[in-house]
């Protein structure tokens, strides 16, 4: 067993570590380094400017707009996605009505899971293109012509600064709900049936069963979902870049941090400044992950 052990270990680790170090670790470390410089990305020279980049960020109205929009995404997207997915999981699992053996699942739950999950397997630009044309601001778009039937005038959607970000959030939620429904449903299926039966025998209705029994048992999964969605809301780029022209949408209405990083780093030749934004994004992600795990911490239920 000892023979050839170390050469083997090293030989197996090196390819993976090398690729990971060159393309992931080194850029991450460099980002912290460049955030302290005035590097343009074009000329090889740069000088250190200390925390100047970070100070400038505080006065950058576009960046502040991006942070505000990301903050809204961060609240609305996880709340709406987890909420809808839980409601759908509830309907799937107890919609079949109560019976002697406990609450029953709904018929056709396989079909619903199949359909709801579908956006998850498609590339984001595909989804973005479909929705940006459906939401065409003139009366000729799919949604606007339907609104016309019930007498609502054409809405500007992605062209309207008040609506654009909400449209983006809608598409994010629309695309993610199915995944979390399947996730929650899988978690519910792993709960022993006796627990639900016991609740019914004790006289709990289906809503009470869901709120008092199912939800606490799902808490770990909900917590994981929350962190994933928060990262998604911070990292959002493709939807905004493809759906809203600009880029950044009307009046920076859909400006987000990732878009600002790309613009400053590649279009305006401010690689150092863009790296500083990256560092801010990193700490935001870190703080939010820790915060989410803290506030949602509960007594772990074993079963």
């Amino acid at each position: 067993m000892k023979h050839g052990r170390y050469p083997f270990i090293v030989g197996f680790l090196v390819p993976g570590l090398a690729i990971y170090a060159v393309f992931v670790l080194s850029p991450f470390v460099q980002a912290f380094h460049y955030s302290l410089t005035d590097w343009t990305g074009i000329s090889p020279e740069f000088s250190y400017v200390g925390l100047d980049n970070f100070r400038r960020l505080l006065d950058d109205s576009q960046f502040l707009a991006a942070v505000r929009n990301n903050a809204l995404l961060l609240v609305v997207v996880p709340l709406a996605t987890v909420g809808l997915a839980l409601v759908f999981a509830f309907l799937l699992n107890v919609g079949g009505g109560a019976s002697g053996a406990g609450v029953r699942g709904i018929r056709g739950s396989g079909f619903y899971k199949l359909v709801f999950f579908m956006p998850q397997v498609l590339a984001i630009p595909v989804i973005a293109v479909i929705w940006s044309v459906i939401l065409e601001p003139t009366g000729n778009g799919l949604v606007n012509s339907a609104l016309g039937w019930i007498g609502i005038g054409p809405l500007g959607f992605l062209a309207d600064p008040d609506l654009a970000l909400w449209c983006v959030m809608w598409v994010l939620v629309w695309g993610s709900v199915g995944f979390y429904l399947v996730l929650f449903n899988a978690a519910i299926s792993s709960v022993p049936r006796e627990i639900f039966e016991a609740a019914v025998i004790d006289g709990a209705g289906r809503l009470a069963t869901f709120l008092r029994v199912t939800l606490p048992l799902l808490w770990d999964t909900v917590q994981t979902a929350w962190v994933y969605l928060a990262i998604l809301a911070l990292d959002v780029y493709a939807l905004v870049a493809v759906m809203t022209a600009g880029p950044g949408g009307p009046d920076n209405a859909t400006q987000v941090i990732s878009l600002q990083i790309a613009q400053n780093g590649f279009t305006f030749g401010r690689a150092g400044y863009a790296s500083a934004m990256g560092v801010v994004l990193f700490f935001l992600t870190l703080v939010i992950a820790v915060f989410m795990l803290r506030i949602t911490r509960r007594e772990r239920v074993e079963f």
């Binding site: 993976g16 990305g41 899988a186 493709a238």
Partner: protein, 302 residues
């Protein structure tokens, strides 16, 4: 690792929550049927919200621009299949498809190989620095790609790998490694040690044990993480958008086409390109959806 949603045979009984059709019908109160009807109504409404956009996009692929915007809810007067030929040649979809296929096949095979090698060694061998390397990989799952995108561009440029197949493949592998290592690490830990020990006694080298014994035993895990990586790399947009401007992959090509249509106005061609990008993925999804859902969710649950 717990697979909470085991792949089921197609057509097998739904989860235990639902009784088999035709089984003993339980007495339903009027309140129950109202609840059931409401549940179905809500779920059907959301199903429509998902399906209608896709069907509408498919229909738009055989319309012309005037019909797409003038009569969005109607069938086309003439079914313009020529949109597809135009998307393939003029829109460059044929090229994008080839780029995507090359990069994703190379990327997934290399990810699986390199990722399982690292995960295996970390999971089954004690050595100094084991934990540190594991956390180094695991940490990669948390970091936003955008923190690194600007320096990454210059790394790839410095290596002369912008807009090359091998450059994109290596980057895809690098960003797929954290989750792959994390997932396969958990999987290798659950495999019994006795078989590997027996193989060693029989004179297998460590490398032979890995390729002949452990990898075949890890097949279910490899399948789950393989599907995850195929979907993830096929749908990748951010990395190629910055690192491969001259060799666009499919997702990137679609975004470029949309930008062009804002000026050219041949929307039917855009939707034909969308259909070409969308239909194969949806067909694969419909065939393997149980495995896909199980793979993606088991990855997140543990």
């Amino acid at each position: 690792m717990t697979t909470t949603l085991p792949p089921r045979e197609p057509g097998a009984a739904p989860p235990p929550a639902a009784p088999p059709a035709g089984g003993p019908r339980l007495r339903q109160t009027p309140g129950d049927s109202t609840a059931t009807a409401t549940a179905h109504a809500v779920l059907l409404l959301w199903s429509l919200l998902v399906i209608v956009p896709f069907l509408w996009a498919l229909l738009a692929s055989v319309k012309d621009s005037r019909e797409i915007f003038g009569s969005p809810w109607e069938l086309p007067e003439v079914w313009r299949w020529s949109n597809f030929a135009a998307a393939w040649d003029r829109g460059g979809v044929g090229d994008y498809l080839v780029h995507s296929l090359v990069v994703v096949s190379g990327g997934v095979v290399l990810t699986m190989l390199v990722g399982s090698m690292v995960a295996y060694v970390l999971a089954r061998y004690e050595f100094r620095g084991n934990r540190a390397i594991y956390y180094l990989f695991a940490a990669g799952m948390m970091f936003p790609v955008f923190l690194a995108i600007v320096p990454l561009f210059f790394v790839v440029q410095g290596l002369g790998m912008l807009s090359t197949y091998h450059g994109l493949i290596l980057v895809y592998v690098a960003y797929s490694l954290p989750f792959t290592v994390f997932f396969m690490h958990a999987f290798f830990r659950t495999l019994p040690t006795s078989v590997a020990e027996a193989a060693i006694v029989d004179g297998c080298s460590h490398t032979q044990v890995f390729f002949r014994v452990m990898l075949p035993m890890a097949k279910p895990g490899l399948l789950s993480i393989g599907i995850f990586n195929v979907l993830g790399q096929w749908n990748q947009f951010v990395l190629p958008a910055f690192l491969s401007p001259e060799k666009p992959v499919l997702a990137q090509g679609i975004a470029t086409l949309l930008a062009q249509q804002r000026y050219e106005g041949s929307w039917g061609v855009l939707f034909a390109a969308l259909a070409i990008a969308m239909v194969p993925v949806v067909v694969v999804y419909l065939i393997f959806y149980r495995q896909i859902q199980a793979g993606l969710t088991s990855g997140t649950l543990k």
